[in-house]
């Protein structure tokens, strides 16, 4: 099976985020960037399918040169080769223009299955996988926790409200990975060393076959107009005394100050 995995590099979830002054972006200087955790599930699943039945795993990302670290991590886990959409034109994209560029890159490849994380933990838009499927005119199943190859189709399990659903879709299709799909392997050191020699092709806009107004900020359907950090949490308040005495005080504060009841 020929599998394509879409990945994104995101700030480590432990990172203290700072805003970049005068912009609607965060300050990326000096922060630790990692492979999006949900994409790790996607990469692992692709490698497992390949290990069981053969085929190839190709990683595609749209991101600046720094994102090659995340791509190499996926290669170190066992993917075969990778493509990075390269160029300033791709910057400032929204989910739509990102999906557009990715779909175009995918259509130049042979594929039976496209895997990606259900969302990237930085912008949490949860759209790219579905958009890519729509643009390629193929079905998609979101938030999958179990995946089986069943002849020319995929059997995907999902957790739904109060239950469990199994969906069958013909290939090619897009599957987005939810936590629980598998236990991603750690890239081993020999794997990291081998990944250095695997093909990682930077594809520029021209070679992709799209025009500058179709990608990045120019091709976006939406724009971020404001970005702010959550307000600092204030110190908690401790009430002491008998329950009968403090409960009314707490209720009053919850109503008048916190405005939650």
């Amino acid at each position: 099976m020929n599998i394509i995995v879409l990945v994104k590099q995101v700030p480590d979830t432990e990172t203290r985020i700072k805003l970049k002054a005068g912009s609607t972006d965060i300050d990326r200087e000096g922060i630790n960037m990692v492979l999006n955790p949900y994409d790790e599930f996607a990469v692992e699943e692709a490698i497992k399918i390949k290990e069981a039945g053969g085929g190839s795993v190709v990683i595609i990302t749209a991101g600046e040169a720094k994102a090659e670290e995340a791509v190499r991590t996926a290669l170190a886990m066992g993917a075969d080769r990778a493509i990075r959409l390269d160029g300033a034109e791709f910057a400032g994209a929204d989910s739509y223009s990102t999906a557009k560029a990715l779909a175009k890159a995918i259509s130049a490849e042979q594929y039976d299955l496209i895997l990606c994380g259900k969302q990237a933990v930085d912008d949490d838009s949860v759209q790219v996988g579905t958009l890519v499927a729509a643009m390629l005119g193929i079905p998609s199943v979101n938030m999958v926790t179990k995946l089986e190859v069943a002849g020319g189709s995929m059997k995907a399990s999902r957790e739904i409200e109060g239950g469990h659903e199994v969906v069958e879709v013909p290939t090619p299709c897009v599957i987005t990975a939810q936590k629980g799909l598998n236990e991603p392997r750690y890239p081993s050191l020999p794997g990291i060393m081998k990944a250095k020699k695997k093909e990682l092709k930077a594809v520029a806009l021209g070679a992709l076959g799209l025009s500058a107004d179709e990608v990045g900020a120019a091709g976006a359907k939406s724009a971020v107009v404001e970005l702010s950090l959550p307000p600092e949490r204030k110190a908690g308040q401790v009430f002491e005394g008998e329950a009968a005495e403090i409960v009314p005080k707490v209720v009053k504060l919850l109503r008048d100050e916190a405005k939650v009841v």
Partner: protein, 383 residues
């Protein structure tokens, strides 16, 4: 040209080991320390990751990732737990290292693949009850018969030498007398299971409680002459060179442990409120954290430079001693500060700071005490 950027594979490695240490070691570290238990399971997992044989070339089963990568790995392990960093550091620097650097082709082919895969651990038996800092005072002897060494004596404090995975110990022994009257010292590979070779785990350690430490006894223990590491009589210089490399990994443990204790204290200082404000708003606390961060930065630069010298085949003995001395003392100051910042909780096992505090203590003693490092450095600077 000066360049402080790590290679891409080193950044990936750092993230990978950090992730591994946080997920696989951190949840068990306190319990293993408490029970004084060596974990075969975690050691096997570390081996699967490729943590043994990082500086060994691929033909012998290593990953050829180089010395700086190895040091980053030890640093990241020590950021979470000293014992597990010790298992890897001793396995590599003291076990695999001498065989890789001085072993014959036959010895390398025989041992390195199984040591790099983590099937077995190698150890370095230098210290004796009466030969600590004065490593040349070795009393263990190896007497030559026709085609065998007959070894008699004992060793103490040998890391990785009395656990299920222990496979071979490199034993420094007196093999004769030189013309100048000095002892002839040689290193001999002694496989575990050889008759006359027994091991006893040493318990009740203050630190590195999940790392395996052993006393070794040799009682007419016979091994083939072929088991001599490199040339007969090279034992002392092999030992000195092994310790130079070993010092870098002890330094990495100091750096990583300092980093871990610092992060813990920083996080705590933001969450802990006294007098109605987070304690890191008190200048005494924030300045102390600032000092910790500064010293850690200086320690990292010194250590990485020493590793860079080694990786580029330059002389690095002085810098290795400096890095070992400095990083272990930085960790002392940082762990002391971390316990102080956590107050009473700093003294409780559950909070983690005290384990860093205890584990630090070895770093000023093992592989040459801080006094010995100062002797080495003072000789280098011409005293």
């Amino acid at each position: 040209m000066l360049n402080f950027d790590l290679e891409q594979d080193q950044l990936i490695l750092r993230n990978t080991i950090r992730d591994f240490a946080e997920k696989e070691i951190a949840p068990k570290a306190e319990e293993l320390d408490e029970k004084e238990e060596f974990s075969v399971e975690i050691t096997k997992k570390m081996a699967e990751l490729g943590l043994f044989g990082m500086f060994v070339s691929e033909e012998y089963g290593g990953s050829g990732a180089g010395y700086i990568s190895y040091i980053i790995a030890v640093e990241e392990l020590a950021r979470v737990d000293g014992s597990h960093a010790a298992t890897v550091a001793a396995g590599n620097s003291l076990g695999i290292g001498p065989i890789y650097y001085f072993g014959s082709e036959k010895q390398k082919k025989e041992w390195l693949p199984m040591l790099c895969s983590g099937e077995k651990l190698a150890s370095f038996g230098l210290t004796e009850p009466d030969a600590g800092s004065d490593a040349g005072a070795t009393k263990t002897t190896a007497r030559q018969t026709n085609d065998e060494w007959i070894i008699n004596g004992s060793k103490i404090f040998i890391t990785n030498a009395a656990c299920e995975l222990s496979g071979v110990t490199i034993v420094q022994a007196v093999t004769g007398k030189l013309q100048n009257g000095k002892k002839e010292l040689s290193c001999i590979l002694v496989p575990h299971g050889t008759p006359g070779f027994t091991q006893r785990p040493m318990k009740k350690k203050m630190m590195w409680r999940a790392s395996n430490t052993a006393e070794l006894y040799f009682d007419d223990c016979a091994v083939p002459l072929d088991n001599t590491l490199g040339k007969r009589g090279d034992g002392f210089s092999q030992m000195l060179s092994t310790l130079d490399g070993g010092r870098l990994s002890i330094a990495a443990m100091g750096l990583g442990g300092a980093q871990g204790a610092f992060e813990l204290a920083l996080k705590y200082s933001k969450e802990r409120h006294q007098f109605g404000v987070p304690i890191n708003t008190f200048q005494t606390i924030s300045f102390r954290l600032a000092d910790m961060a500064t010293e850690i930065e200086a320690a990292r630069n010194l250590l990485y430079k020493a590793c860079w010298l080694k990786q580029n085949k330059r002389a690095y003995s002085k810098e290795a001693a400096m890095a070992k001395l400095y990083c272990s003392e930085v960790m002392r100051r940082v762990t002391h500060g971390a316990v102080q910042i956590l107050g009473g909780y700093g003294l409780m096992k559950e909070y983690g700071a005290e384990r860093f505090y205890r584990d630090q203590r070895l770093l000023e003693i093992g592989e040459g005490t801080s006094e010995v490092q100062r002797i080495v450095i003072s000789r280098h600077i011409g005293c």
